[in-house]
């Protein structure tokens, strides 16, 4: 082969390989995508709850997307403690008002943000940790009455799931 033809050959090789590579890589998309939650799983993604049986001070655990959601009917003192906490004391600073839609109802995911355990504190007999909210038994994270992380290895506050009040006593999560 003469030298003058070499760049042409190189170009053909390179473009064939590139095209083949891109084609093979794009074939991965449907396979990887198939591993995601299916439509039936996504369809179960909202839950409606009646709040009227919950007295002040009581909590309820409901299941949303297979995960526990904590609904807490907060007492006046719990609300005050949550509102009066200085942001400087919080590892993941967030105002209580940004975490609730109505002051007396706190709705958070009951999944510790460290490694996914379910914190204790929903039952009257449970330990509620040093800050009166929840305590995760796995690695010792403490959450306050706004579900915010105060002490322990968890990096962030208990997340607030998307929810709307359908009526005063009925919410829809998801």
């Amino acid at each position: 082969m003469s030298d003058s033809r070499k760049p042409r050959r190189d170009f053909i090789k390179l473009s064939a390989m590139t095209l083949g590579g891109v084609g093979a890589a794009s074939l991965l998309i449907p396979f990887i995508s198939s591993m995601n939650p299916g439509k039936d799983t996504l369809a179960l993604a909202s839950t409606e709850i009646d709040l009227s049986p919950l007295e002040e001070g009581q909590s309820l655990t409901v299941i949303w997307r297979g995960k526990p959601v904590f609904i807490k009917h907060r007492t006046k003192s719990e609300i005050d403690i949550a509102k009066n906490t200085s942001l400087d004391e919080l590892p993941d600073a967030e105002e209580d008002s940004a975490r609730v839609q109505k002051d007396n109802w706190l709705v958070v995911l009951g999944v510790c943000t460290h490694l996914g355990c379910v914190p204790l504190g929903q039952k009257a007999s449970d330990t509620k940790g040093d800050y009166g909210g929840w305590f995760c038994p796995c690695h010792g994270s403490h959450y306050d009455t706004s579900g915010r992380i105060r002490k322990g290895p968890a990096p962030t506050n208990l997340p607030v799931p998307p929810y709307v009040f359908l009526t005063d006593n009925r919410i829809k999560i998801g």
Binding site: I32, M35, N36, P37, G38, T41, T61, I63, R65, G66, K67, P68, H114, L115, G116, C117, V118, C136, P137, C138, H139, G140, P153, A154, P155
Partner: protein, 414 residues
């Protein structure tokens, strides 16, 4: 190529055998390969019983695959049925209890053999040139083994299965920005559930056979260089070697016999001692057990995870603890392989082994002050050993002149 050359080349492909053996071997050269690599393969004369644990680990792997096949005939991989199908194997399937207890305990003994095997490689310098790839394939298998064991532990769908899987898969959520999306992709759901147990079952099988494939590479690379031995000196003549069969095969079988007698004792008298009683409670996504403890063979790495107060940092430390070991062939600057002739490094390696056991102990304890402190010291030594001691000791220490295999055997007799 001239026609003479072509004839000469073809001649090298001729089988040394005749008859049926020759007929097969000239078409599929497996027989001559097995003879060269296993029957007549020369092995240093001076191997001690530490060298039996690779073979023992392989026996464990074979046993796990065989018992796994028979468990698979009865197991149902779904959140609904998994726990009950395992209980059915234990109670109703003929000899199901034996097959499942064998499978569960063989894993533990697979890890025991592997830990001893890796210690052997560190102490006698088997990781050093020219055996780096043997070592790297070995560490890769070790990581796949841990992944396979983790996936398998999820399958009985007990409380420890479920919460162990939740905690470990949540490690991926530590990845910045895309962590949660990756977690959903891996689980096929928002939590560990039906979809996860189904794919974990498939992956448990897949990775088991991936390990078998890597065993082949491990052995091919080993047979290119030949086995290391306690002196770390290469054999100088045929006199310093013995053939693999019958000398090593008999010795390894002997070691395996004692090893599996101990396993049988645990299997028949304390079949659950290495497991956790909470795993006999069906998985409940709403209740977390008070103490989540991984299987004993994960404890050192779990201790490293918890030693770092930051979530992402802990995950990185845990994974890099094993990856860093893979750099040892290049970080160890000494020209001498075996610790028998390395007065300082020898104690570094022994301390590394003790440190491993200490980490194992604290990994099983609650994450309280004193245990966290010990796990931090242990984690620090782990990385100090690899990144500081390995290069430094090689420079500072004055090793003794390694003995030849013949002189070593004579000195042992004297």
């Amino acid at each position: 190529m001239s026609s003479d050359q072509l004839q000469g080349y073809k001649k090298t492909l001729n089988s040394p055998y005749t008859g049926i053996k020759g007929w097969i071997d000239s078409r599929l050269p497996l027989i001559r390969m097995m003879e060269a690599e296993y029957l007549k393969f020369p092995v240093p004369k001076s191997l001690n019983y530490f060298w039996s644990f690779g073979g023992i680990a392989m026996f464990c792997l074979i046993g796990l695959i065989l018992t796994g096949i028979f468990l698979g005939f009865h197991y149902k991989p779904s959140a609904e049925d998994a726990f009950d199908s395992v209980e059915r194997i234990m109670r109703d399937v003929s000899f199901g209890w034996l097959i499942r207890y064998l499978h569960a305990n063989l894993v533990s003994f697979f890890f025991i053999a592997t830990f001893i095997h890796i210690f052997r490689a560190l102490y006698f310098g088997s990781y050093k040139a020219p055996r780096e790839l043997v070592y790297i394939f070995g560490l890769t298998m070790f990581m796949l083994m841990m992944a396979t064991a983790f996936l398998g532990y999820t399958l009985p769908w007990g409380q420890m299965s479920y919460w162990g899987a939740t905690v470990i898969t949540n490690l991926f959520s530590a990845i910045p920005v895309v962590g949660d999306a990756i977690l959903q992709l891996l689980l096929g759901d928002f939590t560990v559930g039906d979809s996860a147990v189904n794919r974990f079952y498939v992956l448990h099988w897949l990775l088991a056979f991936a390990i078998v494939g890597l065993v082949v590479f491990h052995v091919i690379t080993l047979h290119m260089t030949g086995s290391n031995n306690p002196t770390g000196s290469e054999p100088q003549s045929w006199d310093e070697t013995v053939s693999f069969h019958p000398y090593v095969t008999i010795k390894d079988l002997n070691a395996a016999l004692f090893f599996f007698i101990i396993m049988a004792f645990i299997l028949f008298y304390y079949p659950n001692i290495l497991g956790h009683s909470d795993n006999y409670i069906k998985a409940n996504p709403m209740i977390t057990p008070a103490h989540i403890v991984p299987e004993w063979y994960f404890l050192p790495f779990y201790a490293i995870l918890r030693a770092i107060p930051d979530k992402l940092g802990g995950v990185i430390a845990m994974f890099s603890s094993i990856l860093a070991l893979g750099l040892l062939p290049w970080l160890d600057t000494s020209k001498v392989r075996s610790c028998l002739f390395r007065p300082i490094w020898r104690y570094c390696v022994l301390l590394f082994a003790v440190n491993f056991l200490v980490l194992m102990y604290v990994g099983g304890k609650p994450a309280e002050d004193i245990y966290v402190l010990i796990s931090r010291i242990g984690t620090a030594y782990w990385f100090l050993f690899i990144f500081v001691l390995a290069p430094l000791v090689g420079f500072l220490e004055t090793p003794r002149q390694p003995l030849t295999i013949t002189n070593y055997l004579q000195s042992k007799k004297a």
